[in-house]
Amino acid sequence: MILAATTNESLARMSDLLIYSSMAVYTLAFFAHIAEWVFGSRSKVGRTAAALTQQAPAAAPAVTVQVKKAGGTTVLDKPKVVTRSAAGTRDVPDGPGAAGGTVQGDLYGRIAVSLTVLAFLVEASGVVARALSVQRAPWGNMYEFSTTFSTVAVGAYLGFLLAKKNVRWIGLPLVTTVLLDLGMAVTWLKTPSDQLVPALDSYWLWIHVSTAIFCGAVFYIGAVATLLYLFRDSYENKLATGGNPGSFARSVLERLPAAASLDKFAYRVNAAVFPLWTFTIIAGAIWAGDAWGRYWGWDAKEVWSFITWVGYAAYLHARATAGWKGRKAAYIALIAFGCFLFNYYGVNIFVSSKHSYAGV
């Protein structure tokens, strides 16, 4: 028998403090990102229009194997490979990023990223302190899901940055959402740290809930990329058909990566977590089999996980179906993410389900 480990009050209080502190630092990061975008708007870049209105794309060098002479022997560089985008996509270069290539904008961008790293560390410690205070996985209620969720989303973003992926453009929307998420967590979803009810007390909690949170965080990044893809794609369409986009579009959308890059990024992210999401649902079913005596009972939570899964499967299919690639597939991806969100907020709060957790 597990005697309820008494909550370590001071650790719990420290966790709260850390979460609040991380919110303060995220707020600073938010303003730094704003500054980045504002200063970046002074740049006058119009690569997209240039690329789209030119008859031929700037021809890439065709012969690119370089030979260097070094101490008499020839040392060969890796041959430069010329790449071309796939049929049917526009050959448009990526935008310069929020900083727009300006030195000042870039400085603020770097400050924003540094602050985000700091906030991430503080928030992660908050989550860890919470876990230590109750001596269990910190995923027993919505407050804990929400704080972990934003930590993982930011962690994934920083991971992409570390892997030298071109993702800094996601900084502002991400930090904004994290602030919203944490704001909701500390106001409406706040639950004092405590033990789990017996049904949640299982090692499946570690497996099922951690992967679910991870999938959500990464799907979120995919959804942001998809949404920006849609905006950027209309912008490029407008330019390509000789339209005249508004000044906001010219300033903001121009600095984003090309629609094709955003689309590809969104696809990779969504496709990469889809198997994990499949696993999450199966792990949940196995757990339900042990806890409730049935693997699948069409409980509201199960239904919406299934809907989300089918939604993402439809998205992957759409990308392989003529006439559904591009914008239509993107809409499906957004709907699928909407289902994920509804499964989290909607089902937990408004629908009575077996998955009603202690305190919300």
Partner: protein, 568 residues
């Protein structure tokens, strides 16, 4: 595919190069039905059904169809809630019933969607598998005429002979586990067939899972049993409180075993805002399968597995022990009476029924019934509430009211054991005509008026636990399907299927020009990287000609959307 591309031959070659990188069905551009009579129509319909577009639409419908079941109460999940909903929505109910909205997941329309989807899936999988086998037996297609139009491309000049270069490329590519061969004036190679294999495995695994679920539904059995501490259960149909089974289930398939609930232990949070929240539920049981008794503990997440059956702990409550005596002091009832919890603090209600053996003071046969209201933790006298304050047995109190007459247990109607049918019963009243009711502590006795006897709340409150005993074949198969699905999916999404061509031709100046190009099923940053690696490896055998070639933008101006056909 770009419409402005005019070089037909070039395009055809490129299409051939990208052909069959996947076995996805090609969309048919013909719109409208055929003119070929019944067979033609059937063929047309079949082709539609197994097309990617219809699969997509069916997937969409499947998720859409699942929505109402999550928002409207479902009979399969909670019949009481369905009844409450029906009572509250008199106008909607007939419509919902017609649409089978209370049984969405077994409704005709929902079944139709997933059956069509799976027919489509099978119709899609079979030809794709054959096609894939064909691809495995054939060789990668030859190089397109213009390699520089492919998504990844590199070239250099070398002194090596073209044949030498081809030879070296062949060895290199085979060494990296490409399937490679020389076709015409180029080496053609392909890798990543596991992607397609994974994709097919995934879709087949979906079918396996569906079959497993269907199998499980047909042959499953599931029953509930409430057991008081000290009592036992043996797995035969008559012993169940309630029992459901699939249409193909035979009762002789029930796993022969029995078990006894030795004790039940529940602990609850004692302090803080979550006071009363359950912390542990444990049922200690001993069970036997014909042989010697074995001991086990069943917890919420840990069912007991006996053969094909699993015993789950579902609920628990209290069963106060009472003794009822008649006017002569003869014990007519003695036992633990399980009461049903009505709130989280286990305030419980129930009925005590004395059916046989009781005679009133005149010696007339009669039946007794008591309504019981029980709290494990009483608020204290004068606190004005008879609701429990805490789920544990800290201050048990039971309130009883007594009736005599006919319990109507033999009226033929199924009776709820937790409720009294008072239609033929009279309530006991005390001397002053008030209804007899008493709040009792353990050990206390309520005397019935006029020498009608007494009822004692013994100093013993047992706990009961209810169990679900289920047998569901096909679980192993479903799990195997699930694992195969994840493995296949991972292969399908993470493995790139790609082709590489190496062409070496002697130029007019006598120097060999090497061209390399790569094409993947979808664009990937890895493809150019890999091509670069291959090129570096190849330059060992075909070193670049000494003089650096000037970088000339010699690519002719053309359509800005190159027709790489990479996404086909």
């Amino acid at each position: 595919m770009s419409k402005t591309d005019t070089s037909e031959t070039g395009r055809a070659a490129e299409e051939a190069a990208g052909a069959q990188l996947s076995t996805a069905p090609q969309e048919e551009t013909v719109v409208g039905g055929p003119t070929l009579g019944v067979v033609g129509w059937i063929r047309w319909f079949w082709r539609q059904l197994t097309s990617m577009r219809v699969a997509l639409i069916l997937l969409f419908l499947l998720s859409l169809g699942a929505v109402p079941g999550s928002l409207i109460p479902q009979t399969s999940a909670d019949e009481l809630k369905v009844q409450a909903f029906k009572d509250a929505h008199k106008t909607l109910t007939p419509l919902y019933e017609k649409l089978q909205f209370f049984d969405v997941y077994s409704s005709v329309w929902f079944s139709a969607i997933y059956i069509l989807l799976f027919v489509s899936l099978i119709g899609c999988i079979v030809p794709r598998s054959w096609q894939f086998v064909g691809q495995l037996r054939s060789r990668p297609p030859g190089a397109p005429r213009r390699l520089d139009r492919l998504p990844a491309y590199t070239t250099w000049r070398t002194e090596a002979e073209p044949e030498q270069v081809h030879e070296a490329a062949l060895t290199l590519l085979k060494g990296r586990r490409f399937r490679a061969h020389t076709a015409g004036n180029a080496v053609a190679a392909e890798k990543g067939y596991l992607r397609e294999a994974g994709n097919l495995a995934f879709h087949v695994a979906l079918i396996v899972m569906l079959v497993a679920f269907a199998w499980g539904q047909l042959f499953k059995s599931e029953g509930g049993k409430l057991i008081v501490e000290g009592d036992g259960f043996s797995n035969t149909l008559t012993q169940y409180d309630d029992f459901k089974s699939g249409s193909q289930f035979g009762t002789d398939e029930l796993e022969p075993f029995s078990f006894k609930l030795e004790s039940f232990n529940g602990t609850y949070e004692k302090n803080g805002p979550q006071r009363g929240t359950p912390r542990t539920f444990e049922a200690a049981v001993s069970y036997s399968q014909g042989g010697a008794d074995k001991k086990a503990v069943i917890r919420v997440n840990e069912p007991l597995k006996v053969g094909d059956s699993k015993v789950y702990l579902i609920a628990h409550g209290y069963a106060p022990v009472v003794t009822v005596k008649d006017g002569r002091g003869k014990t007519v009832f003695h036992g633990a009476v399980p009461l049903l919890p009505i709130d989280n603090n286990i305030t419980s209600t129930g009925a005590i029924k004395v059916m046989d053996g009781y005679r009133d003071k005149n010696g007339k046969k009669e039946q007794l019934g008591f309504q019981a209201f029980f709290v494990p933790t009483f608020a204290g006298a004068g606190k004005g509430t008879m609701f429990s304050q805490f789920p544990a047995l800290d201050f048990p109190v039971m309130a009883l009211t007594g009736f005599h007459g006919d319990l109507r247990v033999n009226s033929g109607l199924p009776q709820n054991v937790y409720q009294l049918d008072k239609s033929k019963m009279t309530q006991f009243t005390d001397a002053s005509g008030n209804k007899l009711a008493q709040r009792m502590l353990p050990g206390e006795t309520m005397t019935l008026p006029d020498g009608a006897g007494s009822i004692t709340f013994e100093k013993d409150v047992k706990e009961w636990a209810s169990f679900q005993i289920s047998q569901q074949p096909g679980n192993g198969l479903a799990l195997a399907g699930a694992i195969a699905a994840i493995a296949g999916l991972t292969g399908s999404l993470f493995i790139q299927r790609r082709r590489v061509w190496v062409r070496a031709v002697r130029g007019e100046d006598g120097v060999t020009v090497v061209e390399m190009a790569g094409l993947g099923r979808s664009e990937s940053a890895k493809l150019p990287e890999e091509l670069g690696d291959l090129a570096v490896a190849l330059t060992v055998q075909a070193p670049p000609a000494a003089e650096a070639v000037p970088e000339t933008a010699e690519e002719p101006a053309e359509d800005p959307a190159p027709s790489g056909e990479a996404d086909k």
